[in-house]
């Protein structure tokens, strides 16, 4: 994985001192919180329901064991012994003291980590396929470009105050594991007929209160022009977006209002301009960065055999293991969704265990996923049983990847000052309802995603079953949505009808799921059945 050189390190170190100075001025009363807020947000520090919350960037979801151990250390030393993995492949801490924040950043900087641009009206952490560099189905590892984009978009002067946040994702496979088209700007590496690789570019996606699925604005962009193209997109948006209504300033609104063709025309015009300015990194810089992402020294002649004699292990292996590009290797998904627990939460001790496993079995590499799970990307199939045993003993051995209990949930009203309703208890109750392993297996792929407010951090628009918490006259109420997807066939979920209270939403989900069981055709997932029969096929079962 990428390693900082003296320049990268100097920039992150400077940011620590910058933030230390900003924090000092706030603590000394030289700034009001109104003035401090945009500054702390640009460094991932929120004021949440119970305390300050710090969001730490995990660029393109990749980290090593040393970084994970540092995250554990921070959880234990400065927080309350745990952290929460987010839907942007980041980690956040819920109980941070403002006076400690600069020291935490200084600790992070020692392991080449930071909180730069993890919040606020800025270009956020670049997300990527969590299987990058390992997946059997990818064209090439997309992370060198993600790292180039990370560098170019760090402290970008012209975009110091964007209209809103801006999210970028990069993948290089047909299968979309990164919710690509729900991003402001999404890049998929493709190969053209001449065998050259380039980017298919999407723009104008996003969730929130006004969801849009990104339009494809470029079929094929040479990879060495991506930085010019991104700047062109950013400039068109920065110059033209509304500034009078914060809810209408995301790029998706501009793309929608200008229309796909006019937006594309303006971007192409700016793109030609930026190309002429020579903004793109040279091949030598790509080569330098790509060398860090060279495949690890995979062993050859490894056994493909997996001893399935232990049924609990076999069940886990069936659900948690994905195909690797190297013979004898596998990708392991670690569920952070044990039944009844908080989705995405992980204790300091568990972080350390996972770090140990990465170091011992996975060439020291870990990934965080947008579905709030972790990945050991490169493990020998012969080590799977040992890994499962260790995970199982640490309470991380759940076998539920992409099943009904692998629920995405935002922190909701238990932690978040923007939330209208709690998300976590709903996720816990649904998981408990469907805990039976046979039942989960029978239901197959079924992605439930829960948000505690319309900002949609829990991706409810993209859930096969989505749940949106709202405030109805001071009490929590939950709307049910069906038919969303964040994969290569992206779709937006639709609301079923009137909302439910907390107990009612769990029952309503079960009625929808049972309806699917009744009417599914062989081989159909929940989403397939929904797409075949539509809302009408479910509505009566849900509302009676």
């Amino acid at each position: 994985m990428y390693k900082y050189d003296q320049y990268d390190q100097a920039m992150v170190d400077a940011r620590v001192e910058d933030f230390r100075d900003q924090t000092r001025r706030r603590l000394e009363g030289k700034m009001t919180d109104d003035q401090f807020k945009p500054l702390r947000l640009k460094n991932g520090l929120y004021l949440q329901l119970h305390a300050y919350m710090l969001r730490v960037a995990i660029p393109y979801g990749t980290l090593n064991s040393r970084q994970m151990r540092k995250l554990a250390h921070i959880a234990r030393t400065y927080d309350r012994g745990y952290g929460h993995f987010t839907t942007r492949q980041n980690i956040q801490y819920n109980w941070i003291k403002l006076e400690d924040a600069p020291d935490i950043l200084a600790e992070l900087a020692t392991v080449e980590m930071h909180a730069i641009q993890t919040s606020g009206e800025s270009i956020r952490n670049i997300s990527a396929d969590q299987y990058a560099g390992a997946a059997a189905d990818e064209i090439i590892d997309p992370r060198p470009w993600a790292e180039m984009i990370r560098q170019m978009t760090t402290f970008m002067p012209e975009f110091s105050y964007l209209p809103r946040k801006f999210k970028i994702a990069v993948i290089a496979a047909e299968a979309d594991r990164a919710a690509l088209r729900w991003h402001d700007c999404a890049l998929r590496i493709v190969q053209n007929e001449a065998g050259e690789i380039g980017f298919e570019v999407f723009a104008g996606g996003g969730m929130g209160r006004t969801p849009f699925i990104a339009y494809r604005i470029r079929e094929f962009l040479p990879t060495d022009q991506i930085l010019s193209y991104l700047q062109a997109i950013l400039r068109v948006w920065n110059r033209n977006a509304r500034r009078d209504n914060i809810h209408k300033q995301r790029m998706k609104i501009l793309v929608h209002e200008l229309g796909e063709d006019e937006f594309r025309r303006q971007v192409e015009e700016e793109f030609q301009h930026f190309l002429a300015l020579g903004e793109d990194f040279p091949q030598a810089e790509y080569d330098r960065i790509a060398a860090y992402f060279a495949p690890p020294p995979f062993e050859t002649d490894l056994s493909e055999e997996i001893d399935r004699s232990d049924p609990d292990f076999a069940l886990w292996a069936d659900h948690q293991v994905a195909a690797h590009k190297a013979p004898g290797y596998a990708i392991v998904n670690i569920s952070l969704k044990p039944i009844g627990q908080i989705p995405g939460d992980i204790s300091a001790e568990q972080m350390e265990l996972v770090a140990d496993l990465a170091e011992r079995y996975s060439f020291d590499e870990l990934r965080a996923t947008h579905a709030q799970n972790l990945v050991l990307p490169h493990v020998r199939k012969q080590d799977l049983h040992a890994i499962w045993t260790a995970l199982h003993e640490a309470g991380l051995g759940e076998a539920n990847l992409d099943l009904v209990t692998d629920i995405i949930a935002c922190p909701g009203l238990d932690y978040c000052s923007l939330a209208n309703a709690r998300s976590i208890p709903v996720a816990q109750k649904i998981a408990e309802r469907f805990a039976d392993a046979e039942r989960q297996k029978d239901l197959g792929e079924l992605k439930i995603k829960i948000s505690g407010c319309i900002n949609a951090c829990g991706h409810h628009h993209a859930g096969h079953i989505g749940i949106l918490g709202v405030d109805r006259k001071g009490t929590e109420n939950y709307q049910l949505l069906l038919g969303g997807s964040g994969d290569e066939e992206t779709s937006q979920a639709k609301i079923t009808g009137p909302g439910f209270d907390e107990a009612g939403i769990v029952d309503a989900v079960e009625r929808a799921v049972e309806r699917y069981r009744e009417i599914r055709e062989p081989g159909e997932r929940f989403l397939d059945t929904y797409r075949r029969v539509g809302m009408d096929g479910f509505k009566e079962a849900i509302y009676g």
Binding site: L49, H50, E99, L413, D414, I424, G474
Partner: protein
Amino acid sequence: MKILTGNDLKTGHVIWWDGQGWSLHVEDAVDAGDRADAIIAREEAECRVNGAYAIDGEKTADGVRPAHIKDRIRALGPTVRPDLTLKPADPNAGNWVI
């Protein structure tokens, strides 16, 4: 009654105006009446509170309780982590929150 809440500037702890200063315990909250804005302005300026605001509260047999669920959760802690609330030893401590 109108009660005042905010966060401690340095630690981020949720705090409540008790008439003299800021308390961690909502039970200490007092009615700020029509002085809410003045108190908030003064306390913010002195950096004794961050993001302060006035909310509706009510006096009950067990003490002052915020009217809205959001501030009730703020007052005690996350409902999903009773071990991290202000009263981790008392299993019934959160009964009034939801």
